[in-house]
Amino acid sequence: MTVQEHPRTGIVAPQEDPHEAPIQVRGLHKAFGTQKVLDGIDLEARRGETLAVLGRSGTGKSVLLKVLIGLQPPDGGSVRIAGHEIAGIRVEELNEIRKHIGFLFQQAALYDSLTVEQNVAFPLTRHTRMKEQERKQRARELLASVGMDRDIEKLPSEISGGMQKRVGLARALALDPEIVLFDEPTAGLDSITAAEIGRLIVDQKKQRNITAVVVTHDIRGAKFFADRLLLLHEGKILAEGAYADLEKSKEPFVKDFLRDGG
């Protein structure tokens, strides 16, 4: 098998079966003490698909994302990302897989001592052979693609929450990942900014054909940007399918959730 490097970043593409779903989770269990958070979750995100994971606050949606990127170890079950089982994997191997995954944190989690531009360039500095000028150029392109072509010399504390999310998205996309995980991308934003972030997710998906998992309780947003929705309740998947399929569900919780908008 030939090793394929990304033409721009030089990162080696993961060796995976192109017909295999990039994200496959089987029988995932996760508990904190006696509290079961995820109780036998099965899910799959197909290539180029945007999967929205919905549910009330505290149902383990963010934990699921952190398990997918290896920030939390699963207690049981199988988690396959880009063709690799990540449960029990060595940190070095996990880091190789992480280079192909972008992660947008709920509060953006920008490095507060770095400027906006430096934040976006950080993964490039760490993992590519790009020269400083190339990195700057790439960071500016990414920032422009999320509508952040100004204020790039500012610190994260000097820009608004919506702008921080945009910068976080640009940073998540810096290494041209095949998979992007979004943790509550629209939480805490006004409806106009939330809609803008939703449009950005759709645009990036179209431009880059990324596989995305979006954790959210924003049912309106999910209806707009997701191909498939999945409703998590008490550690289990209660409903799964397109928005229209969920609307047909007779499950009272699903009906309530859709009616109340999460």
């Binding site: 952190k66 990127i69 920030l71 940190v91 880091n95 190789e96 992480r98 280079k99 995954i101 992660f103 944190f105 709920q106 509060q107 989690a109 920008l110 490095y111 507060d112 950080f122 993964p123 760490r126 993992h127 940073r171 290494l175």
Partner: protein, 254 residues
């Protein structure tokens, strides 16, 4: 009482796991040279004024306090020796250790604690950067490397100001003061006590990074981390000093 004991054991257990990850991260390539240099500057160069001031104050106090006693016993000529000997064997190292544990312990604890509660450390890990290597190992190594150098600076400024305080009352040239002071000082009086501060650096770096990277509970948690980093690292520095002084005396008896 039982719960306190269990949480104490848990703390030491977690510290052991942290140290194992830290050692692995520090000795596995690629090495974070650029970040190490940046931390050496932040920990070493930026602590220099405070350490120099503390060393200078110690020198003045030593000069003022011992002068009268030595005159009473007719041993005034021993004053330079007492100041130099006291500074390089114990006052310089311990003052530097405690000053740095205050300034750097709180700084590292609060910085990493704040990064932890705002998910910046998770973000770093998610972008395939090992925070143990990038954040912790560089800070611990910088502490180990910089504190002995800061100790030399504290010793130097202590001697300088000790001489100045002495010469105001009883003029003596700096050269004569130093020659007289170093007359009875041997290798074992200077190198081991100075190098023992590398252990202080290890303690301060490890405790502050460990406390910072396990911070919980928002800004209040960051405040608690900063306080506990200073308290614990100062406490362990004092305890380590007792052990190291005994060890140095066993290897190089007076």
């Amino acid at each position: 009482m039982g719960r306190l004991l269990i949480s104490g054991f848990e703390w030491f257990g977690d510290l052991g796991i942290f140290c194992a990850r830290l050692v692995r991260a520090a000795f596995t390539p690629p090495y974070e040279w650029r970040e190490l240099i940046r931390q050496c500057d932040a920990i070493g160069a930026k602590s220099l004024p405070l350490v120099a001031l503390a060393g200078a104050a110690t020198g003045v106090v030593l000069s003022l306090e011992t002068r009268d006693s030595l005159i009473r016993f007719g041993a005034k000529s021993l004053l330079p020796t007492v100041i130099v000997y006291s500074l390089i064997r114990e006052s310089g190292p311990i003052i530097t250790g405690l000053i740095v544990s205050g300034r750097i312990g709180a700084g590292i604890g609060a910085e990493l604690g704040s990064m932890k509660v705002t998910e910046q450390i998770d973000a770093m890990e998610a972008s395939a950067v090992d925070p143990y290597k990038y954040l912790a190992a560089t800070r611990v190594l910088a502490c180990i490397l910089m504190i002995p150098l800061l100790t030399v600076a504290a010793d130097f400024f202590g001697m300088l100001m000790g001489w100045l305080a002495n010469t105001l009352a009883d003029p003596i040239s700096l050269r004569l003061f130093l020659v007289s002071g170093f007359q009875t000082v041997a290798f074992s009086d200077f190198i081991p006590p100075t190098l023992k501060t590398a252990v202080f650096g290890l303690i301060i770096g490890v405790v502050a990074c460990f406390q910072g990277m396990r911070t919980r509970g928002g800004t209040e948690g960051v405040g608690r981390t900063a306080t506990s980093s200073v308290v614990l690292s100062s406490l362990f520095v004092i305890l380590a000093d007792v052990v190291l002084v005994r060890l140095i005396l066993m290897i190089w008896p007076l």
